[in-house]
Symmetry: D3
């Protein structure tokens, strides 16, 4: 079996840590690491919903993703200084938002809004998958906070499943789990998979960066991802403890 | 078998037309329709590459997607007036660019740039897949134009495959091909698949808008999409005739 | 008499076509061609007016003009990507809006808003005059649509006249009608004239691009424009048929 | 004969003053008043031309117009704060630039750039016409400054004519010269006319704000404007004295 | 004692003039000069407050500062054209606003808003201190205007003190008052001090542009500034006369 | 002696921690805490200088400050999403840059650029002073890194002093050191003081938020700040160890 640059086997995650409640300000938060990738996820709860949703008896969950300028090996300019948000940032923010909404029952949430912020403090590949995995933990805590404050009813169950995400890719013809940056840039195909705790798919985003891929390769990647996500789900449960 | 609102079977494309060379200004162009969805695709060829690529002996292909304000049933504000591009526009522009680059040999293209513009004149679902499918036709013509002008060598083969795209989705539990707008809003799962003429995948982007999906559903969608893309490939070939 | 590059006499319009109802989404629409210049004009009707007009018993008509990036011989960057609208675009949008408002009785329109979008699909000179001429056709249909829906009363007459526009210019000392792009760039003086069906002026915008012009030249240009506009008015009537 | 609110006859200018050399920083400047309208015009000379003109042996003249937020009776927000320039500002800046370029021989100017800034300190109608009239004075001085510094040759004659501008309009059916703000808002038709010292037209921009106008009205307005501009030309000559 | 380039002693202000009521449009205004530095200050009064203050029985005073592009020796681009406000502009606007609010009793002002605009027509150092000093005069007049109109009660005393500002700096080791531009660029330390009529500090902003400064230098600068501000306060009183 | 809400004496700093080298990507970094305030400071070294400095044999140091949206008790919108940077952000970025440049010998740095990024992960008052204090540590490490790589000569001494910063303020008439957020909002006067290791002032920025302050109060604040900064200097030395 191939050994990867950092000593992992192809189907092995990097060391994952989840510091739940890292922020003393947010209703829910987690500082998550996938190896050297570190993402601070906060969940901000506010009663009420945006105007377009008012009076429908439903809540709203949305997300914003960003990277600190020196999260990466070379400093990149701030989007606030450029005065506009890049396509990649938009794309990932939307992905995180959709992934979380997929496990939320908006009626049970009631007319409340949760904004998830995922800020990458250090980047080494897999920032969007770490963000989704950490954001779920922050989301759970924000919901528990809201329940404690009476914004969510005692018997409401706004979370219908858990959710985590992992990247997979094909490098030198071999499918691998949870790519670090040096692997990501070499991958022929790169896929991000978002999976619920029950093992269902929320998002499957596969891209041929180099050579297009066939059905067999796609299947192998989906297998790897499903297993990785199951493992991440276990770590989320552990981090959340009795929540 | 279920009959769809517009009379199609679940595995049937809408009527597709490709008006090659619609624009008298661009080096390559196509006005493509997937049912009521109409996208004007132009390919603009310029010798030379952006500064960051200069001197590497490679070309560049990029794409921009936009919608006319009244392409849709309700008018939406212009992004130029808002002063910023929305996340959806960014996401689709990037998807089109990646899809086309996947079938271009940048070395064979040489230090030349092709910008693809896909402007949706009328929208009824599937605008991104129509855009990719039409853009390929425009791209072929721009390359032939460039060959004629001597910008691309006689023996260079910059196109290594063809590419088309189609949407698939699950509606009321049933997988369906090429969703019209009314179907798209009802779909539990929505997937855009970009496939080469040889049947390889370039992009697989599946999203659970409603309920998450399982592996069997994913497989059924991929089967539908592969067949639909094969059919679109045939229509591209026909439109291109002897090019 | 001078023969122009495209075979026209100095006082001759290019072939003009008006495809009424081109868009299946808008309340009114027309795809108009002045030679190779093609502009898609849509009219979007919405009940209600902007806040600053509310409660005054008057309607509002406004217009936005834009060009597809590859409408022209060389691709120009999108204004949405630049994040701002250029002076020329602003100027033309305002001209179209004023021209249409000049023939609308805002009280008869009632508290309703019509937004005209003129998107240049292909440009070969005279895009603003084609836009105004086509926009009038779209406007008529949007008003009829609104009457059908009961937003405009049966006996209300919101349109008090028709309106069309044409460019004229002096080339090599000779006044000419409806300049194509190659003529426009050579013109010493360039004038856009907006005329109502009754032959009154709504806008007269003459600019000396090269040598300033005297009163006699100005008079000759106005004569040409008045005749050209009369002819365009006839084509509008024909396109509208029984509307 | 009608007497106007401020005591003028229909064909009378407001009191016009030109303080040449108001700015101690600019190469040329003038603070011009048309009644209460006050515009500070500066001309900034720099050797060299924008990149797109380099090496063609020609100069460049351009203009920017703006209004202080409290130039008007009600404060309006700053365009810098809004982050974008409005259509009206764009339109007027372009008009001023074209008007001045019409009297400049770019070859005689050589590869030099002059930027005209017209900032309205107080507004009471006619700001664009005052701006053009004052800008010409600033332009003359900037050219003389440049000649003194050797940037323009001793025998070069970059100014081929002088230029001034005035507004005219029809109020209650009567043509009037140089409209003050209270007249401007009531005018059925409003026209800005830019005329050279030799009496030729550079720009004729007539707009029916209320009722469209006929040819006889247009002729009467042009007569009034021509006379007004001749008078302004005399005042420019006087202000410039021996320049 | 050192004589400065313009003949002043180290503790001498430049000639200061205040043209009160320069603008015929604003509720209060002053054109103030500190030597060649000229700033037009207007105060715009509007009944009502921004939404976030509504119903609290308090008023609001805010300020915006800007420079005309050719106020300085070399033309600088307009912030409206760049589409964003620079850090220096932001910083000075905020300083002016805070300085004026320090002498206003917001309760006595009542639910009214005053916007101060300080536009630098010519710059030769000390533009922010001239702006604050002139803005106070405009503010007084706007308040008197409002009292006359009944927006401020007869017995309300919204102004609890007067305020002026002056710059000081250390040049070649010597503390100097009211730096002109040529002095400012050479200063090792530069301090702007805002002082009330009663001699209290509102703002002390000292910056080591060159060498850091010690406590004794800081003390000497504060002494100079306090005296300069007292003199400016006298000039304000004189300009305001019987107000 | 007054005891503060968090148990401190008026002249006591909050617990300060400096995690040097927190980032594995940047050339220098520190995660600094002043109580609950946490700022991640990175220093990015690049050979070369911006164009306007090229060829002058001098280096450049600049800084950017920002706050994560949920650093504060209530979430605030991202400046990247708003598309512009607020005045406060600009002001603080500029302050940090000036403070660091005051202790750098730009000639000894040579033609190299260091960009400091200070991102507030959690905010509880004093974010700008924590940022400056932490940024100095990051700066030292970036310079040592550059020396190791040969970008800075062995005998060059680009750092001529150290620098730290602290806030002071008057609360209920009593001067206090290092204000936490709840203190800051109540302070009548608020001052940020930047001091070098040798005890010289780089910046003194005092603002009367409530009542203006007299000279005696100013003196008391400066004494407190000088002592606080001396203590912070000791902590910096400790964190840097043998650097």
């Amino acid at each position: 079996m191939t050994t990867r640059k950092d000593g992992r086997t192809p189907d092995q995650l990097r060391p994952v840590t989840i510091e739940r409640g890292w922020s003393e300000q947010a209703e829910g938060s987690a500082l998550i690491s996938f190896g050297k990738t570190k993402v601070l996820c906060t969940a901000s709860f506010t009663p009420g919903v945006p105007r377009w949703l008012t009076g429908k008896g439903k809540g709203w969950v949305t997300a914003e993703y960003a990277m600190l300028p020196r999260a990466t090996n070379e400093r990149s300019g701030r989007e606030s200084v450029k005065g506009k948000i890049g396509g990649r940032t938009h794309e990932i923010s939307r992905l995180i938002g959709r992934s979380l909404r997929a496990v939320v029952d908006m009626k049970a949430l009631g007319e409340n809004t949760i904004v998830i912020d995922c800020d990458v403090l250090q980047a080494d590949g897999g920032t969007r998958t770490a963000a989704i995995t950490g954001a779920y933990v922050a989301l759970v805590d924000a919901m528990e906070w809201a329940r404690g404050k009476g914004h969510i009813g005692k018997n409401s169950v706004p979370l219908i499943d858990s959710v985590s995400a992992v990247s997979v890719g094909i490098i030198d013809g071999e499918p691998m789990l949870d790519l670090a940056y040096v692997e990501d840039v070499r991958a022929e195909t790169d896929m991000n998979v978002v999976v619920t705790g029950r093992g269902l798919f929320v998002e499957v985003q596969g891209t041929a960066e180099g050579a297009p891929f066939d059905r067999a390769e796609l299947d192998a990647l989906l297998d790897l991802a499903t297993n990785g996500a199951r493992e991440l789900g276990g770590l989320q449960t552990e981090a959340l403890g009795d929540a």
